[in-house]
Symmetry: C2
Subunit: 297 residues, 2 copies
């Protein structure tokens, strides 16, 4: 799709959204994580006290348009401009405790942005990564997005208590495809509220392979209106993963200030570079070690 076509599509969708969707209301009781005085957990435990590696400060950096942050655990052979883009990920249900601990070791060694695991493993990962500067990312409503908003909120609250610093939630795909945009927007906004109150980043997973371009753009606009920090392409469990087309479309809709995470099927340094060129500022991958080793070769 040409850039001009994309711009026309986005303009048409923005018009549709303005007509059909009420902006979500931010609760007065939810302090902004960027102004709240809550202690900064990651920095407090980081041996280098480097604010740039902290999830809270990453949010500020992302908001300012610079999503590549430097590492607080520099290792000579790793290119931090690549490693700090990557959420090192195992979400397959058959992963064992041994797999999860290996993931944490690799993340410490290679200075990845975060380790991304299912909720059951969050407390173990938080303990393993304490003081490393590597974020603790987990998933909510995953991978179908078809839980109630109340349960998605409870999942985020539970994950934050267990030590998560980043939350990747799946939108209500069925409601979006049913045209129930208020439901979709409120669902995102309520999990954003819980996550920000706990000082965590919130990424909104669209599962782009199940949506047409119109629906993808509407979802991005809803995520932006709801105050999400990132939009993310895919769960890795859908019929397909990230594409350059989808990343470019998402970047166009959310503008320069939000993060865009490409996930699903990114297995090589070349895959990663194509996604970054299209506008991605974070990458979800399982082959992360292979990717950074290729960058160092």
């Amino acid at each position: 799709m040409e850039a001009t076509e994309l711009q026309r599509l986005v303009a048409a969708i923005s018009e549709e959204i303005l007509v059909r969707v009420k902006p979500p209301q931010i609760s007065d009781s939810a302090p902004s994580p960027l102004t709240a005085d809550a202690p900064c957990k990651t920095c407090a435990t980081c041996p280098h006290q480097n604010v740039e590696s902290c999830a809270r400060h990453t949010r500020e950096v992302v908001t300012a348009g610079a999503a590549r942050v430097s590492s607080c655990c520099p290792v000579a052979h790793v290119d931090p401009s690549i490693a700090r883009l990557i959420d090192h990920t195992i979400l397959k249900p058959e992963a064992t405790r041994g797999d999860i601990l290996r993931l944490c070791r690799e993340a410490r060694e290679h200075c990845f942005a975060s380790v991304c695991v299912n909720p059951f493993w969050v407390s173990a990962v938080a303990a393993e990564l304490a003081g490393s500067g590597v974020g603790v990312c987990t998933v909510v409503g995953f991978p179908l997005g078809a839980n109630t908003t109340g349960i998605k909120r409870a999942e985020a609250e539970s994950a934050l208590r267990d030590g998560a610093t980043e939350v990747d939630m799946v939108i209500n795909i069925g409601a979006l495809r049913s045209g129930e945009y208020d439901t979709v927007g409120s669902d995102i906004q309520q999990v954003v509220e819980v996550s920000h109150r706990g000082g965590a980043i919130l990424k909104t997973i669209l599962e782009t392979a199940l949506l047409d371009d119109n629906q993808k753009a509407i979802a991005c606009a809803l995520a932006r209106m709801a105050g999400a920090d990132f939009v993310k392409t895919s769960t890795g469990f859908g019929p397909a993963g990230a594409t350059v087309h989808d990343v470019a479309l998402m970047r166009l809709v959310v503008g320069p200030e939000m993060g865009v995470k490409a996930a699903g099927g990114i297995r090589t340094l070349d895959d990663l570079r194509k996604m970054v060129e299209a506008g991605a500022t974070r990458i979800g991958a399982s082959a992360s070690v292979k990717i950074v080793e290729a960058a160092s070769a």
Copy 2:
């Protein structure tokens, strides 16, 4: 695998379980759903006041070893001995409200055992099926099983409030494969407790395609010890669905008194019959209408 081999396997596994697992403790505060005086919601709303169609009474019938219960909404051209075996299912995340309402219409018309949907749709399905005698089934920890036990409990409680009469939960597959059997058993037992307190059936999904035979048998034994009503083969999102081998193994381990649900890839009447011959007493299917029409031809 021959029957004698299976019996040897089960004997060895039972011995292993007795050595390694503490039996879960049932809370004194949880009344038995079979003796509690809570009103029987399904029967109360069923125009025929037929106790056999009620989830609570289905539990009694299943416990007595007869899982095929008669329908309270007889339609001449439907064979109730087939239709009442089937949980008419849509769990794909892209299903729209229109798809869900069609599922409910088909379930009423064909007298299926239940409609099985994701949690977001439970309240709508309960409203559509009120008075029909068709159960309202939903899923917990689905499809990865890797949520915390606290969230699985909250999911079950939320679903029961929304009108669910049957809960299909995914076990903690990663913990099972890590040999953490106490965790797996307690996870099941706590969701059983919540479900039974609300008068609902609890089915335990193993995701057999991710387990070896030893792990499948251990999971069945843990489900039985935890008081689950059924073991179920698959989510439909794993690498493979139900097999005759797995259903026979599961039936052998759980004995004649528990239900066995075969799900995933059952698309024809012939598929259904093979599963029932192997020991299945409930079938999860999306092609349910085609299956019962073939039985009536």
